[in-house]
Symmetry: C2
């Protein structure tokens, strides 16, 4: 039997376009001799469809699309993902479903058993879990159908499981020749390699081959890395699709070792690829072509601009320098050098006239008050206003340039540097920003060296640097990783050797900045815990 | 037996303060002769604690608090809500739990069986459901313990249930004298009356009395209305606590008809009370005392300012008029009249200097382009900058003044009039804003009559009114109610008699404004479906 793993990049909710593309791919795969094309989880609607699933009409449309797709399945079968109404007398009214299409009709339907509710996942909001596995017979094989989370389980004897059923064990007991998993598993640094290890372990344990099809592409905060693969019963990856791009991978199940096997990117290269794809897809799927970015001369905006050029092409990126009375000469020269290196359109709009006007307008109200953070924020918000004006006037999306370390401790101005449609690097800690910059410069200087080496500064008052009020970024980032990603307590972090006062201060800053993050632009997730949809903190709270 | 229903207003996460207050209330209730004090759901931590529940230290702290509380329970028992670790081999590692405390110790623990995952609820993100009911014996009574959702079920024979177990039926079969429900049920217009009807039906059906204790107070988007009550086995409400305020209601179970029975507010009076409480608690629980509000002379900012004065007192509210070259005379006179009526501090800061400066700064970049929405947004964002400057300088929270109709169709400027810490009326449709204004003026004019009667206008260009580009608000609000609250499709709304082009246009505006709402301030929920946490739409999507 010849399997085709169809690693597609759907637009969420665009049922018409997604199914048109799937029809195309089915016919292409059939042309290449495939017997069965496997698509990713909820492929008809794109993952995650979120509350579109609450629209009855949306569910009707997605069902009709499956019926349409079935008609294309004459020479070749297909497994497609969709939201299937649940007709039971109790429970949520949908299933996260997979249909086997063949002979022009829906042959069999499987419902996902394990529904994740952690991090960015909300599947118990929509779906009723099924309570039993399904084996489909196709092309003389007994195939065990699973969907994403169904196969994310540790070995029985070592690990506490979130679920009390084990679909793989049940399929193994039922006797199958092959397990298929239709997935939408978002990228996190290190996850592609972890997936291979985890799935390889399952294959060895159950002595079963696995055909794994993952979605690819960016949908809001999430970037799906693809990396669909075929693993044999010894746990060996024999076929691997490309990462961060659509792919159609053919595997002869009788002779899988003859398949194509791409090398997945790892480390900073994978983060870079995820950000480029996530940025490109967000801009494109929101209906934009071009972006505008404020260039401060610093490393964050330089990295963001370089990513944008890689995602969209230099003709679609505009950089804007907005010097103030506190801007150093090197800010402007570094911003200009970056724009030259990237060959992007470059504007300089000094903010002094509006800055002076705001001061005079507020002078009466501020009488008798010394200067403080207010005066810094005014400048940041004037810049936000200018950038949004360019965005509005020229129909280009504004990208924000703040990193995760800043967003964590609130070193960013709401409606100022936080203004924009997408926060490209808001899940990248500052120490990783330096790695990204070096990676971007791997074949020659795109980001000016001085942007990388000079001490970071907001330049919102004279002689300011980030390290005046923050611990060194190596220490800050490690405290943040422990507090935000791992939910470690202050006591635990201090017990591990960090300075108590520093830890207390950082934690306090993180907790008090929740209101800013509530209003932040969506950011691309690359770590195990990003600010955003997967971290839901109350604002008016007082846990200390 | 004498029951005390302790309707408290906890601060989320403030375990220390919440338990101190609970200890106080237990001793107070004991002093009044109570045998058993019943608190609301998760009373130790406040509802909803959200991802604070993922912090292991938080869970330890909340368990220790229950042990501490138990020590206060010598003369009088208590039922308290907390997050209890789940020790089972599989499943999520917490239960939403209630403990019966007496004789200085934890006597018995019950775990919630029905865990809601719709609208604003995420309980399957944290909690493992229990699979059986619990009866506690106390003071010679067999008491059936339930938590919130456990008793939100329709009669078996008429309605599809989300759950396949029915705690009330099971308790009835087990034989109990009384059901206790510990709840955190947020306010929605009409819900207090619906609750009484629904619970009254249960009591009649099972011939069982119910003691219902609801949380009260605002926590971020949610306002809990209290309205704790005692209903007898005939479904009659014999005792009712106050709405929208803390209360301690004593009931002699042998003679419940002698209890106090407050009249709950209904209709616009209940919406008004919810907004005042939600506003007061958000400001207070975020550590603020005072607020600042931009006054346009229009009805939305007038209603917001009046609510703020009622919540915080006139000394804690500052109104700011920020006239532009397009502002009409009546805008300023209406804003000034409002400030006089409310007796609040009033500032006038014309935006012309910064407006002119921005125009000159952007003139080069905009060469050859006509004027459009950009020029309108610039003004709104300058106002946002001014208001945030006042907020920063004087440490007062900025309230936004946009209504639900505007937020739905995107008639609002990100970082402009959307700037602020709390969106007080963002779940109030424009037609209901008029009702609120009349209610606020019920004892005399607070909101100037001309703010109510003049045609709404953003005044961002000459001679602009809302109705230039929107259908009349009566029609707009009805389309929005159907599309947003009821998830009706375009076809369905048109079939019910609305103009197709208008419906299509409104739906398109709603869908295209998701990115704005993603960055909106939290808003107080008063309808069955608010924008915010209970409505989770993808942004980069294309369902049409």
């Amino acid at each position: 039997m010849k399997l085709a793993l169809a690693q597609m990049n759907p637009v969420v909710g665009d049922i018409r376009a997604n199914t048109a593309r799937m029809t195309e791919v089915i016919s292409q795969a059939a042309g290449r001799g495939a017997d069965l094309v496997v698509f990713s989880e909820l492929s008809v609607v794109g993952y995650p469809p979120k509350d579109l699933l609450l629209k009855p009409r949306f569910i009707d449309d997605n069902r009709r699309a499956v019926d349409e797709l079935a008609k294309s399945c004459r020479d070749c079968g297909a497994m497609v993902g969709f939201a299937c109404p649940h007709e039971g007398a109790t429970g949520l009214n949908l299933h996260n479903a997979a249909a086997l299409l063949a002979e022009g009709r829906v042959i069999q339907t499987y419902f996902k058993q394990l529904l994740p509710t952690y991090d960015v996942f909300d599947e118990r909001r929509y779906f009723e879990p099924a309570k039993s596995p399904q084996v489909v017979e196709f092309g003389g094989k007994r195939i065990g159908l699973t969907i994403c989370e169904d196969i994310w389980q540790g070995p029985e004897d070592t690990e506490r499981s979130l679920y009390d059923i084990r679909p793989l064990a049940e399929l193994s007991d039922a006797g199958v020749d092959l397990v298929v998993n239709m997935s939408a598993s978002p990228f996190v640094l290190g996850k592609p390699a972890f997936r291979s290890r985890c799935f390889g372990g399952h294959c060895r344990r159950y002595k079963l081959p696995l055909a794994y099809v993952n979605q690819v592409g960016g949908n809001d905060e999430l970037v799906f890395d693809g990396n669909s693969c075929f693993i044999d019963g010894d746990g060996k990856v024999l076929a691997q699709a490309r990462d961060f791009a659509e792919d159609l991978l053919l595997i002869d199940v009788e002779n899988p070792s003859a398949s194509r096997c791409e090398m997945p990117r790892e480390g900073i290269a994978s983060v870079h690829a995820a950000l480029v794809l996530g940025l490109r897809d967000y801009v494109r799927k929101c209906g934009f072509k071009r972006v505008v970015i404020g260039l401060s001369g610093g490393i964050d905006s330089a990295v963001t601009a370089a990513l944008a050029v890689q995602a969209l092409g230099h003709n679609n990126v505009t950089g804007v320098a907005m010097p103030s009375r506190y801007s150093s000469d090197h800010s402007l020269t570094d911003a200009a050098a970056l724009a030259r290196n990237l060959n992007i359109r470059y504007l300089t709009i000094p903010i002094e006239p509006a800055h002076a006007a705001m001061e005079s307008m507020l002078a009466d109200a501020f009488t008798g008050r010394g200067s403080d953070i207010t005066e810094e924020n005014i400048q940041a918000r004037l810049r936000g206003n200018i950038l949004m004006s360019l965005s509005n006037k020229f129909g280009c999306l504004l990208l924000t340039t703040g990193n995760k370390s800043e967003l964590a401790v609130g070193y960013c101005t709401l409606y100022g540097d936080m203004a924009g449609g997408l926060a490209v690097i808001s899940d990248v800690p500052k120490t990783m920003i330096y790695e990204l910059a070096r990676f971007i410069n791997r074949d020659g200087e795109l980001i000016p060296q001085s942007s990388i080496t000079k001490p970071p500064s907001a330049e919102l008052k004279p002689n300011q640097t980030d390290q005046d009020s923050l611990p060194p970024y190596e220490i800050l980032d490690e405290i943040l990783r422990r507090y935000v990603e791992q939910e470690q307590s202050r006591d635990k972090i201090v017990a591990d050797g960090f300075d108590d006062a520093t830890v207390a201060r950082v934690i306090n800053l993180v907790d008090r900045s929740e209101y800013k993050r509530k209003q932040a632009a969506p950011g691309l997730k690359v770590t195990s815990r990003a600010f955003g949809f997967g971290r839901r903190m109350p604002i008016a709270q007082n846990y200390r």
